[in-house]
Amino acid sequence: MSEIQNKTNHADLAEVFNNDEARVDWHDETLWWIRSKRDVAVNKISNWEDLRETASQIKHNVLSNLSSYLQQFESNALTNGITVHWAVDAKEHNQIVLDILKKHSIDQMVKSKSMLTEECHLNDFLEENGINVIDSDLGERIVQLAKEMPSHIVLPCIHKKKEEIGELFHQHLGTPAGNADPQFLTETARQHLRDTFLTRRAALTGVNFAIAETGEFVVCTNEGNADMGAHLANVHIASMGIEKIIPERKHLGVFLRLLTRSATGQPITTYSSHFKRPNKGKEMHIIIVDNGRSIQLGREDFRNSLKCIRCGACMNTCPVYRRSGGHSYHNAISGPIGSILAPNLDMEKYADLPFASTLCGSCTNVCPVKIDIHQQLYKWRQVIVKNGYVPAAKTVSMKIMDWTLSSPTAYHTAGKAGRFVLKYAPVIVNNKLNPWYKHRDMPEPPKESFGEWYKKNRNN
């Protein structure tokens, strides 16, 4: 662990992850299996590509009219009896949650999955303020017990082996040592969390979609934990980013068809719950959070990232994510989408993430709302370099490269030198200082370049 904590860039963290190759293989195969299930599911929908395009256009309309939709949503939600709060940043969001809980003298809360609260580090803040928070999604509960961040937005503990989970349950929930049966562990969590649901007076959920037309919001889960928490509590708090808006209820038809097929290959989540009015005698709060999103909205090249519906398909398909693990992205949202969202929040801290990609483009192809993820990774690289967040040595070498490649004379001299070095002094280059050689050899140097061959063999 200490090795990981000392390293904060993707390449180094990924190298640590790759020290255990069998585990990398296991992680890769598990996520590839989900990608394969996604392929089977989407191939059953003949107009899948039309659906993606439609969703992308709806989201574009949302972004282009967001200030009006937010006000329309607020106005309808207020009419429905929901209390609406606005938070400029994570700090304000967390304070609003705390204030609601304090008002009701509540010091224990149950929470279902919300990546926004991970982004805001809500749990840490509430714990510091004497509030006990229990995550009720099984995967989230597991990483919470392990004192870790989720490594995947849909599958929070995909990096953990069942034996490790069995051990966590043994330590924290008193299950027999050595029992790692998923059925048994899930049943244990069910029993343990049922007590939690029944005794908590406040529940926090995320929001998958907020409908401007009706002022209602939709929360999707497979486990039923959001509903168990929300319906048994007196106070339901729902946290949403400003980009969660969709214009009309009928647009849910498009998004609910796309979301889970993309995420796990299921046709729909088990529960897609529509919360419109608080139950009699109870309170329902919505916190609408900006936290940098309006800045991203103003970045023409990157605003499409706000279309994201958090399905995680880009992670499952990403060959780099599968072989580096979610924690190597050192951000609440990992993988390709995390790599284009994070630099907006802190360009210096996350300068490495857009480079953690081969730009293969698979992420863009699986994205259900057609975010041009790999193009944005490329564009972030340009922005990061222009803002000076790359090592100086790289800048110098790039300038030399440009000088060499812009000048045919310099290029031909450099090429000869390069091949000369390879051919006659392989030990000089073939050493541990050159990362290429750690696992690969360089090609056998040819006796002449194509240019030289052409000069001899063709008369021009």
Binding site: S324, H439, P446
Partner: protein, 244 residues
Amino acid sequence: MKVGLFIPCYVDQFYPGAAIACLQLLEKLGVDVVYPKNQTCCGQPMANSGFEHLTGGCNDLFIKNFSEFDYVVGPSGSCVLHLKEHLHNHDNPEIATTLSNKLYEFTSFLTDVLKVKTLPARFPHKVGVHQSCHGQRGLHLSQMTELVAPEFSKPGSLLNMVKDIELVHLSRKDECCGFGGTFCVAEEAVSSKMGKDRVEDHLHNGAEYITGVDMSCLMHMEGILHRQGSKVKVLHIAEILNGE
């Protein structure tokens, strides 16, 4: 029809055989091909590292070398894609657009412009096809497994014209090999692991040769094969299509 042959820098320096095959096959097909000798590089290594603003020199040189041709053909999906997306000229934007529209990756030129239906080639071996991402997903040389759309493959169709060739089935037919330009050294651990896994898929399914439209991916996989002491070889697709 006058065609300018664009040979990416690393092909020129390390894989002249691929470039020669490309030239010879185009000549066999009756094309008037010229290799402008002052060419260097498309600028992609810099651009993908975030230094696109330093690629002006490369762009100017490329435009100078190739503007006169009816078509420009290059044996690399990656370099061609980079130029199609990013070639620009500040003073004369149109000259760059015109040129990038005439620019073709080698197999798409054979398929879409020359409309090749038969080839006089024979290659009696089991061959694994590596779908290089930029050619496949960027230039749509073949259908992508992520999309719900009809199957096709330009490199695959051309290879199927080769006598006695056997194309092996891969368990992940369009997964990235992990080369990724400077990614291969900046993210050495993941890059090598991706390459290892890609090579393993070909080996496991019995390939004697691995081919593709991009020598850069093949160089990466060759480096791994060589380190493993494998007898399996990499060949640019032009070398197979130009065979015997």
